[in-house]
């Protein structure tokens, strides 16, 4: 199964870093969609088939916390695997993300770390990469 992935971060450079790292994981990737804030990310979730979302916390318009709350409240994609990618250091905020069912990855991160997390939360494997 190739994963369709949504990357939500207000920094275009950070989105490129995440996408580059995703490609280095050697996991089977399908379409990768990008959004610069939570609101645009939610719109893409309604329009596209997405298997995994990587979301930043601090963003204008709609931040990561609010976006994840909306995801969990929507029947259409409430069980979507979510990874929060942030340099956030506040343990309280990280704990809150965990309670919302999101997995936290601290920036900077290696492709191997991202790969392990993606495999753990999606069950995807690179053994079947086409």
């Amino acid at each position: 199964m190739a994963l369709n992935i949504l990357v939500v971060d207000d920094s275009a450079v950070m989105r490129m870093i995440i996408i580059k790292t995703l490609k280095l994981t050697d996991l089977p990737l399908g379409d990768i969609w990008e959004a610069e804030n939570g609101e645009k990310g939610l719109r893409l979730l309604q329009e596209k088939w997405i298997d995994l979302a990587l979301i930043d916390i601090h963003m204008p318009v709609m931040d990561g916390e609010e976006m994840i709350r909306h995801i969990r409240e929507n029947d259409q994609y409430e069980n979507l695997p979510v990874i929060v990618v942030s340099s956030e250091s506040d343990p309280g905020k990280i704990e809150m993300m965990h309670k919302q069912g999101a997995t936290f990855i601290h920036k900077p991160f290696k492709p191997e770390t991202l790969k392990e997390v993606i495999i753990a939360i999606t069950g995807v494997s690179n053994e079947v990469k086409d």
Partner: protein
Amino acid sequence: MKSKIEKVLEEAAVNTFEDICFMYQVPELKDIQKNLTLEAAAEVKYRGDYTGSLLIETRGGLFSAIAANILSIDSPSSTQKRDALGEIANIICGNVVTSLGRSKLGYKIESPRSLKKDELLKEKRQSKPLAEITMNFNEGRADIKFFVDDDFVVKEKKG
């Protein structure tokens, strides 16, 4: 002896350059790169129980190399170079503020700001950085300074 925050700053900076930029230090270049001219700088401010900033300066071609490595392109635009340096500063700062201790309200890290050369040279900082490191790469040099308000040092001494 290095302070705790200096060690954290060094670890965060090394990890960021290695994991994000795929760049590795070459300490042997320290003397050769001693007098390189400043080319760019970015600053990230943070607010929480303590306030301050992280400043990163690049010399000798590193400014362009960071963006080129991150984005895997040969000739990054000025905007891409500024954004890439700002992102590096943001990630390092996010890692270092943790070492100041837990903030009741959490730390808010502002968007990175690019500093022009003349602006940087004009800006004479009142306080000395709490931690400061220099990194030498084949592609140039980075100087990273972490500033915190003076009262932090006073509280540390009392505590």
